[in-house]
């Protein structure tokens, strides 16, 4: 399963090589041109069946959140900082993979037997945590994991009948959806697939990818927050698992193009594909960088709802995942230049 391979690959922002090579292998035979740009984005072209001049960009980011070694301490512990948004509450007890050789690491934490009264109530900050790779001296630790070494969560992918769990569904779920679309039939327009780098640290890869592609419109494929845990008040969940692909209307980085949103909802309704709107005003995606590229790019974001993203393990519903692929394929098949009119 593509999603399994992608989820288990390590690829913190700035270190996307493992994910990139999986994706290059997966799409190479299905595209007409492919290259890796200066920042490391994969830019692939699948030509259209017509020459209607429309250039459609589909983007998913390859990078995931993680940690980076910044120093060494004591008897061989690693000092680390977060890369992208990692919640420090989730670190104690997490199993980690350290560096290109995937050294097993754990977060060094005082055993519960030694905690002082009240200490168990406190969340240690990232500055107070160390990563333990079992090194016996500072020199050995420095040799095994020099400053700059990347660290990811060590999480195996697991498959159930309706859900799967694993790490980095943000945005390997989007990457897997994009692979399926690239492997499918041609569209009437030129499809430009971009697997981007460094989204989690500021949408950096997408900015240059959009500049290079100069598309007429763009869709960003994501794994997004599903915040449908029990609540004490009748208030909005961000998205809900099992309720279909989540379409963004507005987040902190962009306002979706209304024509593209209508294309998505009309397509879903015509085919009976469930969909939901992501709660407006939350988060941000590569669309934030893409839509202001050059003279402007009408953009939309479609996401697979995932619970517990940016944590060691997230969970997604396979129907949501498959419906996202179907919705995107069908919506793209219906896309024309009049979809992009701004006076709709």
């Amino acid at each position: 399963m593509m999603l399994k391979e992608l989820s288990e690959a390590t690829g913190v922002s700035g270190d996307e090589e493992n994910v990139r090579s999986i994706l290059l292998r997966a799409i190479r035979e299905h595209v007409d041109e492919v290259r890796v740009d200066a920042l490391g984005n994969i830019l692939a072209l699948k030509r259209g069946t017509t020459q209607n001049g429309l250039r459609v960009m589909l983007a998913a980011h390859m990078d995931e959140v993680g940690l980076m070694v910044v120093g060494h301490d004591g008897d061989g512990f690693l000092r680390v900082r977060t890369v992208g948004g990692v919640d420090p509450r989730l670190l104690p007890g997490a199993a980690l993979e350290v560096g290109p050789d995937h050294l097993p690491g754990v977060i060094g934490i005082k055993p519960i037997h030694l905690l002082k009264s009240g200490e168990e109530q406190q969340v240690p900050s990232i500055e107070d945590l160390v990563v333990d790779i079992g090194a016996t001296s500072k020199d050995e630790a420095t040799k095994l994991a020099p400053p700059g070494t990347y660290i990811t969560f060590a999480t195996r992918f697991r498959e159930g009948s309706i859900t799967v769990s694993g790490k980095a569904f943000d945005d390997r779920a989007g990457c897997a959806v994009l692979v399926e679309i690239v492997r499918g039939e041609r569209f009437p327009f030129d499809l430009h697939a971009a697997f981007t780098v460094q989204e989690e640290v500021g949408l950096r890869g997408a900015r240059v990818a959009a500049y290079a592609i100069a598309p007429n419109c763009a869709f960003v494929l994501e794994g997004t927050v599903a915040d449908d845990l029990p609540k004490d008040k009748d208030s909005s969940p961000t998205t809900r698992l099992g309720h279909g692909p989540a379409i963004t209307l507005m987040d902190n980085t962009f306002i979706a193009h209304r024509g593209l949103v209508r294309l998505l909802t009309d397509t879903a309704e015509a085919l009976g594909i469930p969909y939901q709107f992501k709660q407006p005003g939350i988060g941000g995606t590569d669309a934030g960088a893409i839509h202001t590229s050059r003279e402007g790019v009408p953009s939309a974001t479609v996401a697979v709802p995932c619970r517990y993203i940016h944590s060691p393990v997230s969970l997604l519903n396979l129907d949501d995942f498959n419906n996202t692929i179907t919705l995107m394929r069908e919506a793209l098949a219906r896309l024309t230049s009049s979809t992009l009119r701004s006076d709709l």
Partner: protein, 328 residues
């Protein structure tokens, strides 16, 4: 110009849904322009052809206004919302909002909150559109609304919602009406999505590739009780921006504005704004960089439903912009 201003401030147009205000402005400018186009994000670009010996100048005023967007409708038909642009919770309670469909809503606040003495947080606010259940609620997730207040005239003071930045749009339209001859190729930009991050200005300036860029927008004042000190007052003339938190005006552009104001005997003030920015900040950084400046209309209570400007500042803003565009 009052009738034009009234029409502009009363037209619906939150960031990302500028169709109605764009149509209203388009109707005003089409007969005055050599070319009118809409860019991919929706900004309206109105070109006035010069006699050929001048520069290519972009003059931008944003047509979007702040507003709110529905995030959730509960079982009883009350809507929760998020803000579009810099809406303040302080001005929300008791305010009325208008949706594109014509539905009116009232914003209120949860009674049983843990900190009743404090300014409420957005998640404690809700919109009541008079519905009794989720099913009969006339608004849904993603619907956007703007604040409403009637346009009022009090002496030389004009009071309305969305003065930010329909007053800039009015200055551009009035300038276009009076501009008979210019050496410059002038692109009047009515930009989208300024309130959420100057987004329309980035893309429109990229497309125009100007030699010089000006924004016309509102600025804050320092003339109200116990306010933060700021050397800008209502009625003392348009403000020539020196800097704000997003941009330092190009010294040549700033000097040009000062010179033209003095040559035309137009009152002006110099503006240093310590919170906020304008489309000029975005235009300045497009492509290889664009010398940029800003003419600001002093405005009290910016981002509240009752923004106040002085008509004389608006008129002098038009005169200043005309002086700049007519000079070689």
């Amino acid at each position: 110009m009052r009738e034009l201003i009234r029409k502009l401030v009363e037209t619906y147009g939150p960031s990302g849904a500028e169709e109605k205000i764009r149509a209203a402005i388009r109707a005003e400018v089409t007969s005055l322009a050599d070319e009118v186009r809409v860019d991919p994000l929706g900004s309206l670009i109105v070109r006035k052809q010069g006699s050929g010996e001048g520069k290519r100048i972009a003059v931008a005023a944003h047509m979007d206004e702040i507003g709110i967007m529905v995030t959730y409708v509960d079982e009883k038909g009350f809507a929760r919302f998020t803000r579009i642009g810099g809406v303040l919770p302080l001005t929300c309670v008791g305010a009325r909002v208008l949706f594109a469909s014509g539905v009116t809503g009232v914003i209120s606040v949860e009674n049983k909150r843990d900190d009743p003495g404090k300014v409420p947080r957005f998640e404690q606010l809700y919109i009541d559109v008079g519905a009794s259940s989720r099913d009969d609620c006339p608004v849904r997730v993603g619907d956007a609304a703007v604040f409403i207040q009637p346009f009022a005239v009090q002496g030389t003071r004009l009071i309305a919602k969305a003065m930010d930045d329909r007053i800039g749009c009015a200055v551009l339209i009035e300038t276009l009406r009076r501009l008979k001859h210019t050496p410059h190729d002038v692109h009047f930009v009515f930009s989208v999505q300024e309130e959420v991050g100057l987004r329309g200005a980035y893309t429109s300036a990229y497309g125009i590739e100007p030699d010089m860029a000006l924004a016309v927008d509102v600025t804050r004042t320092g003339d109200t009780p116990e306010c933060y000190p700021m050397a800008v007052e209502l009625g003392k003339g348009p403000a020539i921006k020196v800097q704000d938190t997003g941009m330092i005006s190009h010294p040549v552009v700033r000097e040009l504005l000062v010179q033209r104001a003095e040559a035309g005997h137009i009152p002006y003030q110099l503006e240093v704004l310590e919170g906020g920015s304008t489309d000029a900040a975005a235009m300045q950084l497009t492509r290889a960089g664009v010398p940029a400046g800003c003419i600001s209309i002093p405005c009290r209570y910016v981002h509240s439903p009752s923004e106040m400007v002085d008509e004389r500042d608006v008129e002098n803003g038009v005169r200043l912009l005309l002086e700049v565009l007519q000079a070689n």
